[in-house]
Symmetry: C2
Subunit: 276 residues, 2 copies
């Protein structure tokens, strides 16, 4: 999905919500266990209930890999079911040298060999340039690079000062020399909404993928106040607060109700910024 | 495998070689393609030909993931075939927040649910503490944290100076507060052998996993001169120069010949240091 298509989807659907499919087989409603692939069945119903309220889905690879071959099959089935008008993000946080990253790119971008052809992948920056450029060989695909995360451990290294700047600022500046805002996004943890002003100095046009709104307590209003651009420039993710909103046969309705709340707040923000 | 067991294996076998199973289906001998699982068949023969010359095997996850379900099945079969007296390392370079890392730990450590129970996993440090500690809940398992890599992009961030030190030095210092040298190793690229003296200031006892000797041109003698400890403290990896030493039906013999050369050099280094 290209940047103009993404912006168009945001305007049409009046939302910049990403639904995180961090589907844990131990947390899904009991009645789904009788299906051949309970995790896919859960995801299918979540997608059916939310696809008009969001512009992206983001399965986190770990939740599928933890179940071995069965988990990978759930992930492939989920990928295939994702609506084409939503940005499909694999949250894999990969990062390795060039020829290895070529293989991760195949794993998640080459549907002809791996059965999965996501639009975007999250990547970790520690190994530098090599970790990122192999994904950029694929026209129309996105790299979403970790910059500032909402993890407890983000303070361990991301906030180290170097040449008068924080490491995460260096990551953004350096990565923006490797690709443009039409191919590169950054992960920015929403628990630090006052940092957005700072980040926008170095990433004025990049879309930012913002986790941590909802269950982790970030404020959508703050994120928009400091992070929104004339093109919106934000994809705000919510995982647990949507997908685990209900625990019984009505879980998909409960998920829709939560997603709708966020969509309505997002619509209000888009209107306030005169984007729609 | 515990630290005393690892040291014991090094002394018994007179080697500290790790064979990297970065098995690319496009690079294996043509005649293997008629087997039901050509990649496993390749790995099986490499393992049969080298297991007395090395103390560790390290499949790189990307080379398996790139082939989807078939690739994962090759990886599982390879894991199951690894000899128990060799340290089994999954080179996955994962790194995510706590509950996600819990799932990656299941994916690679919990044989009962994922069919794989590696002894060690490589982890990327960018997200800090959360990325590392979930793996340490598993008694007897190792985290091998990226510190200084042999990638071209290592200079992008790993060499940034912060508080008078390089980022990779900070990573080593900080991580050594999370676990002891009986659970934590570091990846240190062998193309920078003069850095070993520096690294040993902060990691006097940790085992270092050293890629880049062989195909990438690092010097084994330099690595040992600056990096070896009284317990050896080194696991030196070679992938392509061993596994692709031959290209026809004798590929396993060619791999053995290359591994033997390295084992003999390593034995000489162990003798010189009076470890054996």
């Amino acid at each position: 999905m290209s940047r103009p298509q993404l912006i168009d989807q945001i305007k049409q659907k009046r939302t910049f919500l990403c639904v995180g499919l961090d589907t844990d087989i131990d947390k899904i409603p009991e009645f789904l266990k009788s299906y051949p692939d309970p995790v896919f069945e859960f995801n299918r119903r979540i997608i059916d209930a939310t696809h008009d309220l969001c512009i992206a889905y983001k399965p986190n690879a770990a939740f599928y890999e933890s179940r071995g071959v069965n988990g990978l099959q759930s992930l492939i089935a989920t990928y295939k079911y994702l609506p084409k008008n939503c940005l499909s993000i694999i949250d894999a946080k990969r990062g390795d040298i060039g020829n290895t990253s070529d293989n991760y790119a195949k794993a998640f971008f080459r549907e002809d060999i791996s059965e999965m052809g996501f639009d975007a992948i999250t990547v970790t920056p520690y190994m530098g340039n090599d970790s990122v450029t192999p994904y950029l060989k694929y026209d129309g695909k996105w790299v979403i690079l970790l910059a500032l995360t909402s993890s407890v451990g983000s303070k361990d290294f991301q906030y180290l000062e170097t040449e008068g700047e924080f490491l995460y600022e260096k990551v953004i500046q350096k990565a923006n020399t490797w690709a443009g805002a039409d191919r590169l996004m950054f992960v920015v943890g929403a628990t630090k909404s006052t940092e957005f002003t700072n980040i926008r100095k170095y990433a004025p046009d990049n879309f930012l993928l913002v986790p941590g709104v909802g269950a982790q307590g970030g404020s959508l209003q703050d994120v928009c106040k400091y992070g929104m651009t004339p093109d919106c420039g934000l994809i705000v993710n919510s995982s647990r607060s949507i997908i685990y909103a209900g625990h019984d046969e009505n879980f998909a309705d409960a998920a829709r109700a939560e997603a709708l709340k966020l969509q309505q707040q997002m619509q209000a923000e888009l209107e306030k910024a005169e984007i729609i």
